[in-house]
């Protein structure tokens, strides 16, 4: 009898929501590749892609088609299963994080309250942290299975980089958690809707989180695992066709998700100033909230690209020094100060 008591509308609604979020992340990632080239061109005073479609808007489709139809080469001495597993994990992990981000407030359709968040688990932030820590496996497995010294070096670099930068990221998040007192992303957004954005209380924490997000996404200035001038492309050196595409695509999805996360944690998420005074209906409020989150996310993506085309790559010892000697002490100090202030405020 339990089978009959499943709330079918709930199931359908969640499936629609999951597909919506996935499609959104894929489309944004797709157009980030276009955006990246346009931003690069703009910064370097060039035109950028302008052949396929108006303003080169069809360029991502052309690139995707090209990647799909290219010859696929699996090196003879590689571990075939792991070689395929690598990009699959990278892609899967990149898509999983979007599950706990609240995209907008609840909407009401035909008398049903629908939350625009796939899963409001009470450990939201930890879930993201867990998934992010899985992300390194895609690179490591892919790099090792290629059976090639450059790829191996890149995967070793990736592993130590991501573990080193997870620590300050976690410490910055702990300070934020002390402030909000909850792990649920939805509640964090609701608190910011009622008061000020968290970035006002946690400017240092936000800066640390931002730097760590760059490192976790393998973006310049921390893109050492794929340093093309020393490692020939790093962990995806042996990959061709769509497997290479998956690795590159996963990076753009990660960028989108971490931008959305930063907007949610520190910049109010779907809340924007004065949204409760406009007198909009609930559904309109959710729609404008979603747009606000989307604009914030796009701004962060633009920031990612801006930095990429402005700052050169770090040397590896500089990267490690920054992580362990600068960011961790700063994050610890930030955590202690936040803890002390919270203690004083509650007494």
């Amino acid at each position: 009898m339990t089978l009959l008591s499943i709330d079918w509308f709930f199931l359908i609604e969640k499936i629609l929501l999951i597909s919506g979020v996935l499609v959104l992340s894929l489309v944004v990632a797709m157009y980030s590749t276009w955006g990246e080239r346009k931003v690069a061109a703009w910064i370097q005073d060039r035109l950028g892609p302008n052949r396929a479609g108006p303003m080169g808007l069809l360029q991502p489709l052309a690139d995707g088609g090209k990647l799909f139809f290219k010859e696929e080469i699996i090196p003879t001495n590689s571990n075939r299963f792991l070689f395929i597993l690598g990009p699959s994990i990278a892609m899967l992990v990149a898509c999983m994080t979007s599950a706990v981000i609240p995209w907008a407030d609840t909407i009401t359709i035909a008398g049903r309250q629908i939350s625009l968040q796939v899963a409001d688990v009470n450990i939201g932030i930890l879930f993201i942290f867990g998934v992010v820590s899985m992300g390194v496996y895609g690179i490591m497995i892919g790099g090792w299975a290629s059976n090639n010294k450059f790829s191996l070096l890149a995967s070793v670099r990736a592993a130590s980089q991501i573990i080193s930068y997870e620590l300050p990221m976690g410490l910055a998040l702990i300070a934020l958690l002390m402030l909000t007192g909850t792990l649920s992303l939805k509640e964090i957004v609701e608190q910011q809707r009622a008061g000020l954005w968290n970035v006002v209380y946690q400017p240092l924490g936000f800066l640390i989180f931002l730097i760590c997000a760059f490192a976790e996404c393998n973006r310049t200035p921390f893109d050492l695992p794929e340093a093309e001038n020393e490692l020939n492309g790093g962990y995806h050196l042996e990959y061709s066709s769509m497997k290479l595409g998956f690795f590159l695509f996963a990076e753009y999805i990660n960028m989108f998700i971490s931008s959305a996360l930063m907007a949610t944690l520190y910049f109010g998420g779907y809340a924007y100033p004065g949204m409760d005074k406009l007198g909009l209906s609930e559904n309109m409020l959710a729609l404008t909230g979603f747009l606000a989150l989307f604009i914030k996310t796009l701004l962060f993506i633009f920031f990612f690209m801006w930095v990429r085309w402005t700052i050169p790559r770090f040397r590896y010892d500089q990267l490690m020094r920054l992580g362990w000697r600068v960011l961790i002490p700063l994050a610890l100090a930030n955590m202690l100060i936040t803890g002390a202030v919270e203690l004083l405020r509650h007494h």
Partner: protein, 156 residues
Amino acid sequence: MVLSLVALVSALGVVLSKNPVSSVLCLIVTFFAIAGHYIMLNAQFLAVVHIIVYAGAIMVLFLYVMMLMNLDADIEPQKRNWLKYAGAVSGGALLVVLVAALRDASMPALSESSVEIGLIHNLGKLLFTQYVVPFEISSILFLSAMVGAVVIGKKD
């Protein structure tokens, strides 16, 4: 059921696989299956921390070392026979101890109050009130391990 099966099969894979890297990967799958068990027990916090700490950090370091050493079955030195026997005997002894310990353990059915125990709120409260002394002692243990690592690292 499925989770337990996955856990058992991948745990066997850890022991039986010839290649150390696939052994490590099997262990990661095992950890995920165990985390799945925690979620079924409504201990989401424990599950996620389990994944972050074991699958996310410790196994990455394991994999790191395995990849750098690039162990192979043919270049690995053969272990002596008495070492194998000693391993089998000590493994068997551990099994006996575990079985003896679990035989008398009572397994009460889940009560209404124990369902909530795994949620982060209750867990934190318990850790900082009832179990605060063991908690702090284990943190000292970690500190001493850290100091030890630094001392060993400084030697050269």
